[in-house]
């Protein structure tokens, strides 16, 4: 192919705009690499750099400001065979900074052409993250109060494996683009250019001045030795390929017949670290083994190692609707924090509610039938109190039976954990 340029849609840049030269260089690079159009996509950002996709006969995706790299990454992950080229201006660098950093860190095989022309051309020449402090731009004095960034230095420190910089007027640009596309990994090419519509109207900037500017900036030579590592997609696929076992949902067959199955609403009031949620899982598992439907609603802090942990459980022979609990049939009060979280509930409980209370826990006044246990005296450690409490209610056939509990523990835990759980339960029921 002689050219990938779309003759039906010729470039429309302002006269003298460096973007037009870059368009031609990109085309020459594609031609000299001989890559297939159907395996190439140009993803463009917003602004004048966002016009590029229309000029080429390759796949095209033009998206939102600063986000071009996100679409490019999705495309490359989904189709590793694609050559993905992104064009983005200095505006996109600012608004999409997080995506530039992430692309450098990830090292997906994507080529990013940064078309730096020192200002927002399309919206009136406002200052961008690369505008020099002494430039006269469309943002009054604002650029004088900030300093510009050097995207090449940022990219290198963020882990980019290939970084280069040149003038958009540089004869070697085509070669640089070729090398960047050929590089297996994330490659960033910063081009410096003139925005004749806005920037050069009030600032003296010529190809020669750009060359001088580049001489005064750190030299960028392509390959960044210290960052060399495998391409992200390859690395991802290698790691993912080791994950071969699909997590099928654990199934619980009905194993027990209960004579007169009754709906049970159970609340476990405890604290972080007391394995309240695990206890809830065990109860539900035990219930399901007896043919009950089960539901579990938990309440714990975002800081998972501190504060209350409350588990609300329903076992029901019928379909479960509302999953909150208004008047539980069983309450396990295992810590003050947990009790405090549901303190309004206690006044509503009647004598039909079985309330197990650890000796050290204070509870508000209640008409529930209170059964006190002293797990400390039994030398049961706090993290085992919830499990011990399950042992107690099971031994009394309240809500669940010992048979159901044992079955659930066996199904959920590994043999070693199961043995130690049974030890705890034995301690708890030898009252």
């Amino acid at each position: 192919m002689n050219s990938f340029l779309n003759t039906a849609r010729p470039p429309v840049f302002c006269p003298g705009c460096t973007h037009e030269r870059i368009t031609k260089s990109l085309d020459s690079a594609l031609v000299s690499l001989g890559i297939p159009a159907e395996k190439t996509v140009i993803v463009t950002d917003i602004g004048c750099s966002g016009l590029f996709d229309t000029f080429f006969n390759v796949h095209a995706l033009h998206g939102l400001h600063g986000r071009a790299l996100t679409y490019a990454s999705g495309l490359k992950l989904a189709d590793p065979e694609l050559n993905v080229i992104v064009t983005m201006g200095d505006g996109g660098l600012g608004i999409g900074g997080a995506h530039v950093l992430s692309s450098c860190r990830k090292n997906l095989d994507i080529t990013l052409l940064v078309l730096n022309n020192f200002n927002f051309g399309m919206t009136g020449g406002q200052y961008s993250v690369t505008t020099p402090q002494d430039a006269v731009v469309g943002s009054e004095f604002l650029n004088q109060a900030e300093i510009p960034i050097d995207i090449c230095e940022i990219a290198k420190s963020a882990g980019a494996t290939w970084v280069s910089r040149c003038s958009g007027h540089d004869a070697s640009l085509t070669e640089q683009i070729c090398n960047a596309i050929t590089h297996k990994g994330f490659a960033l090419v910063e081009t410096l250019g003139m925005c004749t519509g806005r920037y050069t109207k009030r600032n003296r900037l010529t190809p020669k001045a750009i060359d001088e500017m580049i001489e005064n900036l750190p030299a960028e030579g392509g390959i960044v030795e210290k960052n060399q590592r495998p391409e992200y997609g390859e690395q991802y696929r290698k790691l993912a390929a080791e994950k071969t076992k699909f997590p099928e949902a654990l199934k619980v067959e009905k194993n027990f017949d209960m004579e007169n199955p009754q709906r049970q609403e159970i609340v476990i009031l405890g604290s972080a670290g007391m394995r309240i949620v695990t206890a809830g899982d065990i109860v539900c598992h035990a219930g399901m083994a007896a043919g009950f439907n089960a539901s579990m609603k938990n309440d714990y802090n975002i800081t998972v190692l501190r504060g209350q942990s409350v588990s609300e459980l329903i076992l029901s022979p019928e379909k479960i609707g509302y999953a909150g609990l208004e008047s539980p049939s069983i309450v396990l009060a295992l810590s003050d924090e947990g009790v405090d979280r549901r303190k309004k509930m206690f006044a509503k409980l009647g004598p039909d509610t079985f309330l197990l209370k650890e000796k050290s826990v204070a509870i508000p006044e209640t008409r529930a039938s209170v059964f006190e246990v002293d797990f400390r005296e039994m030398k049961i450690k706090k993290p085992d109190w919830a499990l011990a409490a399950l042992g107690v209610i099971a031994s009394k056939n309240i809500g669940i039976t010992l048979e159901m509990l044992t079955y659930a523990l066996k199904a959920i835990f590994k043999p070693v954990v199961y043995e130690s759980a049974m030890e705890t339960i034995k301690k708890a029921i030898e009252i």
Partner: protein
């Protein structure tokens, strides 16, 4: 019968896998994180891809890219994440990029409460795109719905080429329930309709989208004589798809475009595209309507609700039935487009409608405008906890509107 025990978020993930989802990108946020965590366990063994974006905007961008490469994609977040998704949602809506977006809603506004439920985003999901283009929003009630509605959501996304939202809730997403997955009725899978040129069959047969046998047969009688035009469709229709990376070149753009995928300023072309985006969703109302009902004889009141609140509503009406009072329920699983015909038909024989929402009234306006001649009572609650069956009974029994106001003309 074998039961499994899982939360709504896991059921969403299992539904997505069942629907053929092969790509997920997301960013951790309570209470949606476990959708991501589950997909990360489930996709790699299936050869799929699961990625953590550097932020929510990026996650949506990855999904857009992957969908344009032909993948079925899923993402999940909560209210604060939907805020960040918004610009990309507009892109996906306006440029007809299929995907499923799960919003495990939490109490808003803003950061709100990470671990408190509410149906906070019902209006936000509908109107969260620039341009106000109609969207599809499905609302699960429980774990079973999370599983089956996710499959429906993928089908709708593929069929209508648009993002489809699942408006879940912390109280469903993070509540575990027993479920027999094998007994859940699932729809047949629908695949994206690929462009096929009669002259050049290879154009779409070598792309990464797998098409079902049915579709292949159908497409033999359904090929186009002309070349691929990325957004060409009948009025109210859906354009055929080809992936970026296939043999035929594809153009995608977030800018206002004509059928050819190039920017346009021609008013007629723009108007035709806007009309089509609206009509393809609104005209499909019946196809998109999913609901459940419990009609009780002699009832003069119909309770309309959605999401987790429907469960308490059903409990309340069962309890009232035991007390000798007959009340019917209608639970909407499709919220947008508004199932107007369904609401009108189902409400016909009732003189009084009670609407319940786990927010301060984000959907009630739609019921009111459809049922102008009915007495409508409303109860909304936005305090981080579930509406109880007891509270709903109170509302239903307040027939004289002493405590819970009548909202509209019919109630006077």
């Amino acid at each position: 019968m074998a039961l499994s025990f899982m939360e709504g978020n896991e059921a969403v993930a299992r539904g997505a896998i069942k629907a053929g989802c092969t790509f997920f990108a997301g960013y951790p946020i309570t209470p949606a994180t476990t959708v991501f965590a589950n997909m990360l366990k489930m996709l790699p063994p299936k050869g799929g891809i699961c990625i953590q974006g550097e932020d929510e905007i990026a996650s949506m961008g990855y999904c857009i890219g992957a969908s344009m490469a032909g993948k079925k994609v899923l993402t999940a977040t909560s209210g604060p994440g939907i805020s960040l998704y918004s610009e990309q949602i507009s892109f996906a809506v306006g440029s007809e990029i299929p995907m499923v977006i799960v919003d495990v809603q939490r109490l808003g506004p803003s950061t709100g409460s990470a671990t408190r439920g509410a149906d906070s985003d019902i209006q936000f999901l509908r109107w969260g795109n620039t341009g106000g283009v109609p969207v599809i929003v499905l609302a699960p009630r429980d774990v079973k719905d999370c599983y089956s509605l996710t499959v429906h959501a993928f089908n709708f996304a593929e069929k209508y080429r648009c993002p489809v939202f699942i408006a879940s809730n912390k109280e469903i997403g993070m509540t575990k329930e027993s479920i027999d997955l094998d007994l859940v009725e699932l729809p047949d899978l629908v695949e994206r309709k690929l462009f096929k040129s009669c002259g050049n069959k290879t154009s779409s047969s070598e792309n990464p989208v797998t098409s079902s046998v049915n579709q292949d047969n159908e497409d033999k009688n359904n090929c186009a004589n002309d070349k691929f035009i990325p957004f060409k469709a009948e009025p109210g229709g859906v354009p055929d798809f080809l992936p970026i990376g296939g043999k035929t070149l594809v153009r995608q753009t977030s800018s206002t475009h004509g059928p050819d995928g190039y920017i346009t300023i021609d008013p007629d072309t723009i108007a035709a595209a806007q009309d089509r985006l609206r009509d393809k969703i609104l005209n499909a109302e019946e196809d998109l309507t999913i609901y459940d009902e419990h009609e009780r004889e002699d009832a003069d009141t119909l309770v309309i609700s959605y999401g987790v609140t429907s469960r308490a509503a059903e409990d309340a009406c069962s309890m009232l039935e035991k007390k000798g009072k007959s009340v019917s329920t209608l639970s909407l699983q499709t919220l947008w487009p508004v199932p107007e015909k369904l609401i009108r038909t189902k409400a016909e024989k009732y003189s009084r409608i009670v609407v319940l929402e786990m927010n301060l009234g984000q959907y009630i306006d739609n019921i009111e405008r459809i049922l102008l001649d009915k007495k409508i009572q409303f109860y909304g609650q936005m305090n981080g906890v579930l509406i109880t069956p007891g509270k709903i009974m109170e509302v239903i029994e307040d027939e004289k509107c002493t405590q819970y106001p009548c909202r509209n003309r019919g109630g006077n």
